[in-house]
């Protein structure tokens, strides 16, 4: 799992059925000290955890589908936690 900051929202007119009702956020990966780390990516947020500006934890790879109730969705990354504080 990785840390990121939600920097935007994707509006899609047509989605594959498995992604219906799922929020799609643009996330800037950040390092442990909060600096930007690499290029932004699109992360699915099936449980609507993160809004723009929030720091979140996201999971990548095939495991990202586990964030969906069905466990079956074509996603490369999903938001799984909202970060309150890193100490």
């Amino acid at each position: 799992m990785k840390l990121g900051r939600v920097i935007g929202v994707v509006w899609a007119s047509k989605k594959v059925e498995e992604l219906n009702g799922c929020r799609l956020s643009v996330v800037q990966p950040i390092s442990n000290n909060g600096n930007n780390d690499g290029n932004p990516l699109v992360v699915a947020d099936p449980q609507s955890i993160g809004s723009v500006g929030d720091k979140i934890v996201y999971v990548t790879s095939t495991d990202a589908a586990q964030a969906f109730n069905s466990g079956f969705a074509p996603v490369n990354a999903s938001v799984v936690q909202l970060v309150d504080e890193i100490s």
Partner: protein, 92 residues
């Protein structure tokens, strides 16, 4: 997932049985503000995308996680057609 732009269609008469009836499109990776990058992908289309469309592309084994592609030998799928991307002002 990554942003991409559809730049062409791929026509093939001889193909794997699990690819029969599937539209295969040539896509160029782009940034969130639609600037083209160097990488391209050959992706299966399950959302009726067309040339010029700004799309969301899922790659790797995750691309098989749709009802329409679950048994197909593929590693990229167009999972959405993007209307707009809103990026917060402080990031732009």
């Amino acid at each position: 997932m990554i942003f991409a732009k559809v730049i062409g269609t791929i026509v093939a008469t001889q193909k794997d049985q699990n690819l029969v009836g599937k539209k295969i499109l040539l896509c160029k990776e782009v940034t969130h503000d639609r600037k083209p990058l160097d990488t391209y992908h050959v992706a299966v289309d399950v959302v009726q995308a067309g040339e010029g469309d700004f799309v969301l592309l899922t790659y790797g084994s995750s691309s098989r996680m749709t009802e329409l592609t679950k048994d197909a030998p593929i590693d990229a799928v167009i999972s959405a057609i993007i209307e707009n991307v809103e990026i917060e002002e402080s990031y732009r």
